[in-house]
């Protein structure tokens, strides 16, 4: 039996028993979708189709379909890639790092946060793939012998490190997620009646791998979860560090900085938590999980956003200071141009949404309000997209030769691909919300007696 301090707020509200948790978690899977689900799904699906058509057009005609030019040869595509990868990071932080720190509040949100990671990383992976121009040659990024037509891959290159980091991150996240899902699929399987829904029963029997909950299996389950968390923790930090090295190991002023790895990792956690909040505030209403995803969970996440947002702000200012202190005039110009040049508005949006507005979370009434949190989380999502845009486009658009100086404007296809991945992400997430146990119910049941409001009041 686990103990918890009396002064801590309960994490499960209302009069709940183990059976109530079972019922609440299986309700979305057993029931029919409501009106809001269908509206959201239709909207996302339209965006998804727009994205598919835009990608098909890009692959058919080439990267010229985008707004890129010879000077700004990386823009929205890489911005979106880094943005989606960053969003993924919060899922692993919640499920792995918070597990190592024994934070009980992660239990009602880790399943959805991890789903967000997996779907986010899948969107991210699309961008390098279509950026190759000839995606059917994508296997060239893997170490395959020279006889296949290309030379060996270069293990000195951060772009190859990225291939290894992201594929490892994606597959390890899927495995971690699935190991935790097995007992919950078994719970749904055992509730399904073979007479009423034989197909569903078969499906969940298949997915649950014959789990029965033996003592030895649970013992192994706990150790495997702990070790996977221990492996995923350095992994998640390595992934965004390596993404940042794609920039940092180059010689472009504005990219060539040693602060990039920690700064990118913090930014990733910052944007990831904002996306978790956006999703969970909608989800708790749509599938009625108000007793499990409480304002306390939101407040804890807001505190992390406040911390990481302040650290990201510190990184921005450090960058400015270092460019002045370096004495390199090209470096100084790159940062001056960022803040006051033609893209000043992007820089201003970034500064406002990432550094200023999260400071509102110092006020308790704001960080314990669902409405305020929802609005501010959207701000952070926008701000972090602009951070990547500022880093990539403003560093490139002033080339070494002033005759090459130019601006970037996205094409219809650029916009289509970006919105398409947002649509695709929500299509996956909405399907997940109706077919998967969205709360890790087996884990949640272990804290019912220490963190349930009914049990806390009894003492």
């Amino acid at each position: 039996m686990q103990k918890e301090a009396e002064i801590r707020d309960p994490l499960i509200l209302g009069k709940k028993s183990y059976h109530d948790i079972t019922k609440d978690v299986s309700r979305p899977v057993e029931g029919k979708a409501n009106k809001y689900w269908w509206i959201l799904f239709s909207l996302s699906f339209v965006l998804f189709i727009w994205g598919v058509l835009s990608m098909a057009y890009t692959i058919g005609t080439g990267i010229g379909a985008w707004g890129l030019n010879k000077t700004v040869n990386w823009a929205w595509d890489i911005t979106n890639f880094v943005w989606w990868i960053g969003i993924g990071h919060a899922g692993t932080l919640i499920s792995a790092v918070l597990l190592l720190f024994r934070q009980k509040w992660r239990m009602s949100i880790n399943r959805s946060a991890e789903a967000m990671t997996i779907f986010g990383v899948a969107q991210a992976a699309l961008f390098p793939l279509i950026h190759m121009g000839r995606p059917w040659l994508a296997y060239y990024v893997f170490p395959i012998p020279n006889q296949f037509g290309s030379l060996w891959v270069n293990f000195n290159s951060p772009l190859l490190w990225d291939v290894f980091a992201i594929s490892t991150y994606f597959s390890v996240s899927v495995v971690f997620w699935y190991i935790g899902l097995i007992p919950d699929f078994a719970m749904i399987r055992d509730r399904m009646s073979a007479k009423i829904s034989p197909m569903k029963k078969k499906l969940y029997s298949f997915l649950s791998f014959g789990w029965s909950g033996k003592a030895k299996h649970w013992q192994r389950f706990e150790e495997v979860s702990l070790v996977l968390a221990g492996l995923a923790t350095p992994l998640v930090f390595s992934v965004h560090s390596i993404v940042s090295m794609d920039f940092a190991t180059s010689v472009i002023p504005g990219w060539h900085t040693t602060i990039f790895p920690p700064y990118f990792v913090l930014g990733a956690l910052f944007s990831g938590f904002a996306m978790v909040e956006t999703l969970l505030i909608i989800m708790r209403k749509v599938v009625s999980l108000e007793s499990y995803i409480t304002i306390k969970h939101i407040e804890y996440m807001n505190i992390i956003i406040l911390l990481t947002g302040s650290l990201v702000g510190t990184a921005y200012i450090t960058e400015l200071f270092m460019s002045w202190y370096s004495g390199v005039e090209f470096e100084q110009y790159a940062f001056l141009n960022r803040a006051t040049g033609p893209y000043w508005w992007a820089y201003a949006i970034m500064m406002t949404c990432n550094v200023l507005t999260p400071q509102l979370y110092w006020i308790k009434s704001i960080r314990t309000s669902f409405v305020a949190t929802f609005i501010l989380s959207i701000f952070v999502n926008i701000g972090m997209w602009f951070e990547r845009f500022v880093i990539i486009v403003t560093s490139l658009h002033r080339d070494f030769l002033p005759s090459s100086w130019t601006m970037f404007s996205p094409s219809f296809i650029d916009i289509g691909i970006y919105l398409g991945t947002i649509g695709f992400f929500f299509v996956l997430f909405l399907l997940y919300a109706r077919t998967f146990p969205v709360i890790a119910q087996a884990e949640l049941k272990t804290i019912l007696k220490s963190s349930g409001s009914e049990y806390k009041n009894k003492k």
Partner: protein, 173 residues
């Protein structure tokens, strides 16, 4: 003499844990316990050995590091050494700092996947396997203790009842 299996169902994990201790102190062998979630301290109360999953992860991680190193050594040094950016790949130890990220990823990739596969194999879990739980409610809110008894069952049943079982079923083997 006939052998019977007795199933004692419990509503609460603390009652179950106390019962497990009581029954084992009476020299009765508990065959299996099924529970909807991991019960803290149950493995010790049942006298289960510590699991060695973490050790397998360490071994698989070492294997991944070794194989990753071998791959990079073969590709970058042995098979097709190149001079990239004024940094020639003639020796492994001079270039190893650039290989650290991939070596790390290989370590994690092998440790995580092979440990998870080992976990599934050791537990007998695979897609489409049938659950061998005697009662479907054990994934919901019931805790089930399975005891095999030869001959007279009344003493075991009484003990289960006394220690808090809410339901007792039996089955002839």
């Amino acid at each position: 003499m006939t052998t019977n299996t007795i199933y004692g169902l419990f509503d609460d994990e603390e009652v179950l844990l106390a019962s497990v201790k009581e029954i084992r102190s009476n020299k009765i062998d508990i065959k299996e316990v099924y529970s909807p979630f991991p019960v803290h301290g149950l493995d010790k109360a049942l006298g289960l050995k510590e699991t060695r999953m973490a050790i397998t992860a360490f071994i698989y991680g070492c294997l991944g590091l070794f194989l990753g190193g071998l791959m990079i050594y073969y590709i970058m040094i042995l098979n097709w050494p190149q001079n990239i950016g004024g940094k020639p790949n003639w020796t492994f130890y001079h270039n190893v700092p650039a290989f650290v990220p991939v070596l790390f990823e290989c370590t994690v990739l092998f440790a995580a996947h092979l440990m998870s596969i080992t976990y599934l194999i050791r537990n007998g879990l695979y897609p489409g396997a049938k659950s061998d739980s005697p009662d479907e409610r054990t994934t919901d809110d019931k805790f089930l203790m399975e005891i095999e008894v030869e001959g007279d069952m009344t003493s075991v049943k009484n003990l289960l009842k006394k220690t808090g079982a809410t339901e007792i079923n039996e089955k002839e083997v």
